[in-house]
Symmetry: D2
Subunit: 336 residues, 4 copies
Amino acid sequence: MEKKITIGIIGAGRIGKLHAENIANNFKYVEIKTISDLYADKIADWAKSLGVKNVCSDYKEIINDPEIDAVLVCSSTNTHSQISYEAAKAGKHIFCEKPIDYDIDRIKKVMEAVDEAGVKFQVGFNRRFDHNFKRVRELVKEGKIGEPHIIKITSRDPEPPPIEYVKVSGGMMLDMTIHDFDMARYLSGSEVTEVYTSAAVLVDPEIGKAGDVDTAVITLKFKNGAIGVIDNSRKAAYGYDQRVEVFGSKGGITVSNDTPSSAVLSTSEGVFSDKPKYFFLERYKDSFIEELRDFFDAVLNDKPTPVTAIDGLKPVIIGLAAMESYKTGKPVKIEE
Amino acid sequence: MEKKITIGIIGAGRIGKLHAENIANNFKYVEIKTISDLYADKIADWAKSLGVKNVCSDYKEIINDPEIDAVLVCSSTNTHSQISYEAAKAGKHIFCEKPIDYDIDRIKKVMEAVDEAGVKFQVGFNRRFDHNFKRVRELVKEGKIGEPHIIKITSRDPEPPPIEYVKVSGGMMLDMTIHDFDMARYLSGSEVTEVYTSAAVLVDPEIGKAGDVDTAVITLKFKNGAIGVIDNSRKAAYGYDQRVEVFGSKGGITVSNDTPSSAVLSTSEGVFSDKPKYFFLERYKDSFIEELRDFFDAVLNDKPTPVTAIDGLKPVIIGLAAMESYKTGKPVKIEE
Amino acid sequence: MEKKITIGIIGAGRIGKLHAENIANNFKYVEIKTISDLYADKIADWAKSLGVKNVCSDYKEIINDPEIDAVLVCSSTNTHSQISYEAAKAGKHIFCEKPIDYDIDRIKKVMEAVDEAGVKFQVGFNRRFDHNFKRVRELVKEGKIGEPHIIKITSRDPEPPPIEYVKVSGGMMLDMTIHDFDMARYLSGSEVTEVYTSAAVLVDPEIGKAGDVDTAVITLKFKNGAIGVIDNSRKAAYGYDQRVEVFGSKGGITVSNDTPSSAVLSTSEGVFSDKPKYFFLERYKDSFIEELRDFFDAVLNDKPTPVTAIDGLKPVIIGLAAMESYKTGKPVKIEE
Amino acid sequence: MEKKITIGIIGAGRIGKLHAENIANNFKYVEIKTISDLYADKIADWAKSLGVKNVCSDYKEIINDPEIDAVLVCSSTNTHSQISYEAAKAGKHIFCEKPIDYDIDRIKKVMEAVDEAGVKFQVGFNRRFDHNFKRVRELVKEGKIGEPHIIKITSRDPEPPPIEYVKVSGGMMLDMTIHDFDMARYLSGSEVTEVYTSAAVLVDPEIGKAGDVDTAVITLKFKNGAIGVIDNSRKAAYGYDQRVEVFGSKGGITVSNDTPSSAVLSTSEGVFSDKPKYFFLERYKDSFIEELRDFFDAVLNDKPTPVTAIDGLKPVIIGLAAMESYKTGKPVKIEE
């Protein structure tokens, strides 16, 4: 197959690098023409090893390049909306890392520019492409459990991020739970209408001093009548805990954690098995490839993207409401 | 071993009969001298087959019998507190089915009488004696998961009760969730300080017409800082769903459902395994024996009972608060 | 229900006591009139506590008692066939512990006497009544896996028996594997036509010195074309390991071990779950009751017993062939 | 990293293509200079898309190319030994697909040439690199189960191969079970000294007519005293069944099948989960990459290869003995 899409990648931090390598190894029909990064010098050798021709420090070179069809916005969070806006204005298709922004108006401005330009826009909610969660969604969609009544999401990190990161992250609800808000919408196929947050600082008092929480149970009401509950912790001693359950009128579906192996060791001490895969790079490895496959398919074949700008907006709205609920101690309604 | 305890059983409905048979088959040192029931005629043959000498229709015969050491109060719910009160006044040890009452003052009156008489009092929260939940509690107590942070309880019935029962049951929170409120206290080793209920009528509109709900997600805050969440449904298509999870600073514990067999059938259609044991009589069979073992042990050896009158009171208080939360749409604090 | 069967129990060792207690607690319609034991004095109090009227040291008192309908032969192995023979001659129904004998001719003599007397005869292969294995057999019978092709049985004890016992036990094949030979016939629904034994002394050299083996893999050929394999060990460090698998033209069935609880503990050290239930008394607790239920049902309602004298004979024949195979190092055919 | 190894691939059938793509996507430091195939025309476009410069129909071009350091022998089975021999003579490092040959003398001739040339030689027993089996081996090596006593391998294909393939495959023992013979040696860390085969035609009579079997239970004795058992079927209705168990003096280890997802669906019909991953390309996907990683590491850093020519020879010897055992109906000893 000939290379049919020419792209630029803006930002070559951990996630930008991951995408670049996944593209080089899995999508022969995609050419990464240019990668921009504030520290362009440092990425030159790595980019060359992937067969990328250009490296630059100014992302505008990518946006102004008429040969480039699509951009991946992998820069720091606070630049996502501005760069996406400019890319849309320049007629580029956009794959934007989550979150688009923490400011709803700025997200809406991106949405307008995208609509106007008629370009494809996809947000990087990669967990929708995970083999387990995708299977749950399929079974729900096929009606195997009838109408969803209760949606449960367990999402716990193996370790809290550095305290410096906590301070600038926008808080656990917008940094970590935002994935779960997206998952709740994805699994239920419905919109959240109310949120109630019960949260605490139980893992590390420093997180509390930084104005954030590290443990939370968040109740959601959905438009279709279902009730959801997310439980989060910044520190699960046994590793990355990512499970969901959807319960409905005709049955229920659960998924458990993936493990490095299925080995079970039985001794006089007890029966031992593997801990979950350590963290998101191991656990969601394939999902990062699958989300790009769908994005490139949408661009090449003029299909809708599977995770739209609206899907980027809604979890931010829920996250802000969840924070408000935590601060006021009351449930918070979400306008449509 | 000689028969060392002589007891009377008040009420021979489903649960009274179960206790009587469990005692006859498992506790050679316990003599059931008398069983009272409003329909004494109907139980005479059955009682005889168990070796029980007397059957009567008036429970006062039991309470006034100086040979009887202890009574099992298995009559209809609205008589529990009055009979327990009279039994305490008569100096009998008391095993009382849950709930003691739905009226807090009447429970407190029983508690006072019990204290004054210095008799043993145990409430029939049998799930504490279940092999799975007991193991979870042990592991928590042993500090295996450190400080508890999140307590999760899933409790779903296979079928809603008859609508006539729903109308007089006191509502799902007091009839069904009350077991889960007890479990939450038992597993966490702490008291509930706040409750928030999100509930709905999703199973059967008739339940809604009867003023009750059939689906709920209830968030609890505990004195020790932990957060709890209970999810309930009146109808799990696949059967009785009884799982818990306790997550803490050093790890987590989960228990899954018990099944009739461990058989797994793999065919071209898929991989099939057993549904959970059908309902509480199958699922909690052994726990009904174990709770009595501990009660008789407390009586014989003058030990504290494992589920006290306070343990009977607290879940009622939480249940009433959970209902208030549902009605007001707000979290409700629980005074100590 | 009135007491409809009057029985005597011959031998009150571990298994005789177990049966007596199971009967007293579960079968109100069965009266244990007499228990005989060489050490009658030592069992008197225990027998009385069960409501048994007579205790004697000579089993002939039971066999000659015209009021007794059925006997349970629970005496030492070397007396099973003689007592069964006498009981049949006396017209008693017989429940005989396994094995009937290690001598095929003596088993056949029992079978003739049983046929002649027209009494019921059941052998104590209790594992057929286990919830797991019964479920496997049902699924096989229902044709869920089509024609059986491969039958696999894992059977490992937690500890070897005392070396004194090993010396008189008849060898592992007749003492331990005999249960698995029965299970192989039960699960496959077919007869064994050839056996090949690969065995070794890997657990304890003392067992080898006593002329026995402690580890074995035994291959079976069945009349219906299927192939079977049993693996045994006298010592599984993690406890009693009892699993089976039946694989056929349309699929396969496996059963795993039962555990005391379903609790799973996850910590930074790993994921821990329960070891199997410790040994046969815990693991097969209910099966001992179920086999008697069927025996009493056969006696009361003139039905065939579920485990006949032929079922007692065949595993002994296979066991002797398995030993011959081990000694000669060659497969051994089994005549029909 | 610069490209440090230049290789040629001989044969671009299914496995040759798989290796070429895995190398292009995962090993930047490996350059595939040339691919030879009898139908060179048909692979030209595909090879170009991977960045391969040359395509040819004569493998000798690769063997005679002084720039090429190593070759992958992926041609038809009957050419493996001859090509490997020539490659060794030309001083190339060799990765040879299994089996090297079915003729022991021809394998030995290759071994001599390899030794003489001092080149690296690795056989494509990819399953040793599977996450599950590798974990079992590690645990055995770490002594977690003490001395191995019983090794069990279940290996069942989802569908028999075409009957035309069966006729030329060398028979199930050399075509399919050969992987299990390798696994037996790998897991036990010991050599097989005796083999006994019980086999049958139960899946498809056409396989029998072609002189082969489709179902087998094969018992192995190991030099270290352990006993092994392999069970095979050409058709597991539920898919590819690949499990192992190692049982030893201190415990046991089992691994179960990998599945596409961990989703469990519970309905009124039962509890359903995923079938195993369909066949070897899905199931052992990563192992094909890992075996090459180790081969390239051995070449680059002058380390021993993890699967040597001896490891290629031994399973063929065992396979031939297993066939002899099937034909004679007797156990067959294996000389060292």
